[in-house]
Subunit: 83 residues, 5 copies
Amino acid sequence: MEIMQVMGRLVCTQRVEGLGHMHLRILRNNKGKQLVAVDPVGAREGNWVFTASGSAARFACPEPSTQTDLTIGGIIDFWTPDG
Amino acid sequence: MEIMQVMGRLVCTQRVEGLGHMHLRILRNNKGKQLVAVDPVGAREGNWVFTASGSAARFACPEPSTQTDLTIGGIIDFWTPDG
Amino acid sequence: MEIMQVMGRLVCTQRVEGLGHMHLRILRNNKGKQLVAVDPVGAREGNWVFTASGSAARFACPEPSTQTDLTIGGIIDFWTPDG
Amino acid sequence: MEIMQVMGRLVCTQRVEGLGHMHLRILRNNKGKQLVAVDPVGAREGNWVFTASGSAARFACPEPSTQTDLTIGGIIDFWTPDG
Amino acid sequence: MEIMQVMGRLVCTQRVEGLGHMHLRILRNNKGKQLVAVDPVGAREGNWVFTASGSAARFACPEPSTQTDLTIGGIIDFWTPDG
């Protein structure tokens, strides 16, 4: 799993049905790249989280058929970023 | 999921049967690399979209056996690219 | 899916059974890296093709149990490479 | 599989149910990037380990539904890092 | 699939059960990075091989439940490395 920081929400009216009403978050990885993840744990802007990718991302959702390849797995209690 | 911009269509007469009649789009990621994605949401040139990869890409299609590893998951209402 | 160019065939006498008699091609990606792909569409040297990776690579073969992680999905009619 | 070194534990009170009570370790890969992995073998700080990613990461856990994309597969008896 | 060269064996007494008694090899990819792969074909040090990753890596083993994400798929008869 990778460690990323929550940057904000993603507003996206028109999307595939398989994402249901899951919340989408914009995360930033350690290279500064912005990614989109499904959030089943209720993370807030600024939180450090770890994410599961691949098929694990789907299984980490309440509904395993959620069409995601990146899902927040937990909020990290304490974290000092690299560098 | 990753955020990319739609560059255009991909013309490809000779292809595997498992892609059916799905539309193929050329996308550009944040590094400028061009990728090919299946488009079930009707994105247009210039749109910012987010994409699902891996097995989620197949499940994001109306037909889950579609032989894709990258599928557009939604059109982003508003987006400011990095940099 | 990614866009690559066919460089040639791969000669490989000793290989796992699960690849059957599928043709193997050497492809070059946009960074110049050489990769090996299964070819179910009959691509020729110099052709621009797009490739499916992951589980989609197996499903893109006539026999879904083919042990590949990269399969040619189609030959592109026209393509201007990056750069 | 990749070779990484164990840096420490990850403290994470709020996480998805599918990780159960599995221990989480912070690993460092050969580029210095820190990653989070599930540890079913009891690795200690400083150990060199190899890791399985993707669906293999789930199967490497006692409970295959564990929602991980990176799992320690073994502790390496002897290893000289690159460089 | 990727092309890599066999560097040697990996000695690893303590490992997950799901790898059984499969031989583990250290491979070097085209960037010089060292990776660990399961070897069902009997490759030797110095051999050029191609590898399957992801779920294909498991299916390329005699036992598909082998907990690997990288498996040697064949020994290349002749190969001129890049550069």
